[in-house]
Amino acid sequence: MRIGTTLVWLGLSLAIPVWGAELPADAAVNPAAPTKTLEPKVVVNSGRLEWIPFKRDLTAWPTLSHEDKRPTVKPRKVKLSAPLNGDPARGREIAQRADKGYCVVCHQMPGEEWPGTVGLVLTHFKLHNYADAAVYQQIFDPRVINPNSVMPPYGANNILTEQEIRDLVAYLQSIE
């Protein structure tokens, strides 16, 4: 138990010279761990806080630290090259999976019993008659269309690949 904590602290102290220009010194990371990002584990009746590897590596994006000098990715305008070549079935899966689009957190979509209510209702999406290019841009980086949009820039921040976004567009355009 102690050895684990010591290793983490060693990792943290090593992190400063290696990552100094990049990751801020107050970030909870272990550069030696496969996913780098750490999550705390509270151990009952102990004065030490354990740190375990988190399932995702989150080190590539800006943190809340005052020392973090890495810029946010700027809004990116993209042009959709035809044909769309999207697979609606794959798109539907991406929309529901927590490690992919997870659109259902905010949007109401067919087949989801506990949808979010933050975003636009996406049932009967086809009736809107949006152009594929506009839907693609909205998912790739919605800030181009609305600078204050809460929706994450799935393409610009590398959350989804271009093909995955094409699949999502194909799925949305198929929802009657």
Partner: protein, 290 residues
Amino acid sequence: MKRTFLIALLALVPLVAHGADPYREYDPLEKYEPNVRGDMKLSGSYRHWSDPKNLDWRMAGNPDENWKLNWKFMDPPFNSAVHGGHFALDRGEVLFKELNGKGRFAHCLGAKKGNLKGLRTQYPMYRADLKRIAGLEEVVEMCAAKEGRVLQNGSYDNSAISLFVASKSNGIPIKIDVAKGVMHDAFERGRKLFHMRTGKLNLACSSCHTHQIGLHLRGTVVTTPYGDAAHYPVYRTRYQLQSLHLRFIECNLDTRVQPLMPGSRAYTDLEVFLTALTNGYPVTVPSERE
């Protein structure tokens, strides 16, 4: 000559710009009142939880309405049978008495004549010995170290002592002054951080907790940022005892933001901001949250 000077000055511009802040995005920067009543201008849910002794328990059982109670129905005297927070409180009392044998520990925490009553309501505060603003858990770590004991910020035992100290202020309203000086600066930095977009999903705290209050994120309903700092450290089934900074880490991980260490400056600024938004609401521990 003048032209040469101007050209030299222009050549310096990129150098200056290089040291400037990086590109960041912010949600529209809202104004907040440093008092819990400010929620009436934000979500309006305060009317349902302003009096902890007079909650409408019918709302607690309704998933579409319980967010309006800001989860205060899980504050004491909720389920006086037992939850883990009560065990932590007992542990905190034992540890506190061990450390405070000569009264130095309580003095170090800022208690006047060893009396802990009301102390929690003044944290976070500026500490001249640390030359910075610190939350209670950071000070517990420092004061325990003076007694030769390692109690890392965020550890169970550290939070247990913080919980015990807080319990001596139960029922007394939070009262930190952010009107001027370093506390005002920290409040403003915290307010800005609350609106700053970060992480893989490019979200700010305010993206949900200011602009989407009362709406669903799947099964979860978003609550107000007002009045939320009075029940920390809190018992959570997944995390056992959770300090406010550990809660920030959980928020960060949930929204895919690389978290910071407990006690980091950014988290302390956020703590000042959120505690000011709880001014006027009584300390209520030990509490449980989902």
